[in-house]
Amino acid sequence: MKKAIQIDVSDNVATVTSDVNQGETVEVLSPDGDVIMKPRTRDAIPFGHKIALNDLDGGDRVVKYGETIGVASRPIRTGEWVHTHNVESAVVPTSAFTEECS
């Protein structure tokens, strides 16, 4: 089964370690290597990208490395792909980069 790594026990996102298809089940491993959940992905998620481990409301903190990496810009459900389309930086608007990149 494909894996996702939770880097800190307080993280509400995990990073997938291979490309994952929509609807596939992934094993989420804690920092100690325990399988903490097996969510079904709601989106295709590329290698190195993040999957939501909880349901989040818009404005909720997105936590990775045990720290806030941004806030949800709209509700996010467990198993969803978490990226620039649903997260905003607290420091530099993510849209500033995505517009330049598109």
């Binding site: 491993l29 290698f47 190195g48 990775k64 490395y65 806030t68 990496i69």
Partner: protein
């Protein structure tokens, strides 16, 4: 309590290596310095490339490296007319109590006589240090420098967090860890300041990162810029990008920001995690953390860096299994086992900690076994710093 086997120095510090350091204070005398070092077992010659003026930041760094406990003895090889003289460096290193000697080409009769005199002095030092024996010490005597270079998408996912576990383990046993590269902390001022032990340290963290952002802005670079490659690779915000780098230092409270300037080069004054106001350029970043007293370096890489260091063992850790397979001659630790779930972050971190202790006790890293002697001193333009209002 975890112990390692090291060499006790007269000032009570503990070296993990017994290097003889030959320093040319100016590159004009680097040739004789190299030839002297080449003739004596365990000797390594270094210099700096910042000109003949008295750059105190360069002087502080060379003195710091000379004071590093991995250095058993120092020979200074000067030209004679340089502003940064051998005597200035000797005065800075002598308080450690280790042997410090000087030869100078213009005083000692040119290249051949200087080489002869210098080689004889160094030969004597090599005979004496051969009698030193390793003894057991607590890892609380260790200072670990943590560096990353040639990063890729696996760095923030595997190698850096696992190395952070090892840094936490060292600190929890009373040891010390340092990391630098302030441009990689951009956008996380508030997060790092929140981990500071007090308000003064929190302010110093803000100031260090703000200064670096302003230097880069003056060069026309927006340090908070996220490239298309960053975003395609899965990095969503600048906080996430910087945290991936910062995590290599672990999660413990930040004790202070070590100044690294013409005014002073600070060393950690107690155990715990410290930041250095240094550079993101790999070899000088390592050199300046070694100058601040680090005896061992943990270096994470994704694409595969090959560098070592003149006086400190550099342990290469990659989270990319393909890099580990392709560059097995350079990589000491495969953290890529985290990706397929065959090993946990914690257990790779424990493996890194165990290897750090083995390397501190004498096991050679791959870069050492290949004879790597990287060394670069960096400095800052005082004119630019003045114009930016930093001095």
């Amino acid at each position: 309590m975890t112990e390692f086997y090291g060499y006790e120095r007269p000032d009570g510090s503990v070296g993990v290596r017994n290097h003889l350091l030959v320093i040319a204070p100016i590159d004009c005398s680097y040739e004789p310095a190299k030839r002297i070092a080449a003739q004596v077992e365990g000797a390594v010659a270094v210099t700096q490339r910042h000109g003949c003026g008295l750059d105190e930041m360069v002087a502080n760094t060379l003195i710091g490296v000379g004071c590093n406990p991995n250095v058993a003895g120092v020979l200074l090889v000067g030209l004679g007319c340089e502003t940064l003289t051998s005597e200035i460096l000797a005065k800075g290193i002598e308080p450690t109590g280790k042997p410090v000697e000087i030869v100078v080409c213009q005083r000692d009769g040119g290249t051949l006589k200087t080489i002869e005199k210098g080689t004889r002095i160094l030969q004597g030092m090599a005979q004496e240090i051969a009698e030193l024996r390793r003894e057991p010490f607590s890892v609380s005597k260790l200072t670990l420098a943590v560096e990353c270079g040639g990063s890729d998408a696996t760095s923030g996912l595997a190698a850096n967090p696992a190395t952070g576990v090892a840094a936490d383990m060292l600190i929890d046993e009373g040891g010390t860890a340092i990391f630098s590269e302030p441009q990689e902390m951009t956008g996380t001022q508030h997060i790092l300041a929140g981990r500071a032990v007090n308000e003064r340290v929190a302010k110093a963290i803000h100031e260090m990162i703000d200064r670096q952002e302003r230097r880069m802005k003056a060069m026309g670079v927006d340090s908070r810029f996220m490239s298309k490659g960053n975003i395609d690779g899965g990095l969503t915000t600048i906080e996430e990008k910087s945290l991936g780098a910062i995590r290599k230092g672990g999660t413990r409270p930040i004790q202070g920001v070590l100044e690294n300037s013409w005014r002073r080069l600070e060393r950690p004054t107690r155990g715990g995690l410290w930041l250095q106001d240094g550079t993101g350029w790999d070899v000088p970043s390592v050199t300046h953390m070694v100058a601040a007293g680090a005896q061992v370096v943990a270096f994470t890489t994704g694409r595969g860096s090959t560098t070592g260091h003149a006086v400190a063992p550099v342990l290469k850790i990659t989270g990319n299994p393909e890099t580990y397979a392709r560059m097995a001659d350079n990589m000491d630790i495969n953290a890529g086992t985290i990706l397929d779930g065959s090993e946990s972050l914690r257990s790779v971190g424990e493996r890194i900690f165990k290897t750090i202790v083995e390397v501190a006790s004498g096991r050679k890293t791959k870069a050492e076994a290949l004879g790597y002697q990287d060394f670069t001193v960096f400095s800052r333009s005082r004119i630019a710093e003045h114009l930016l209002g930093f001095c």
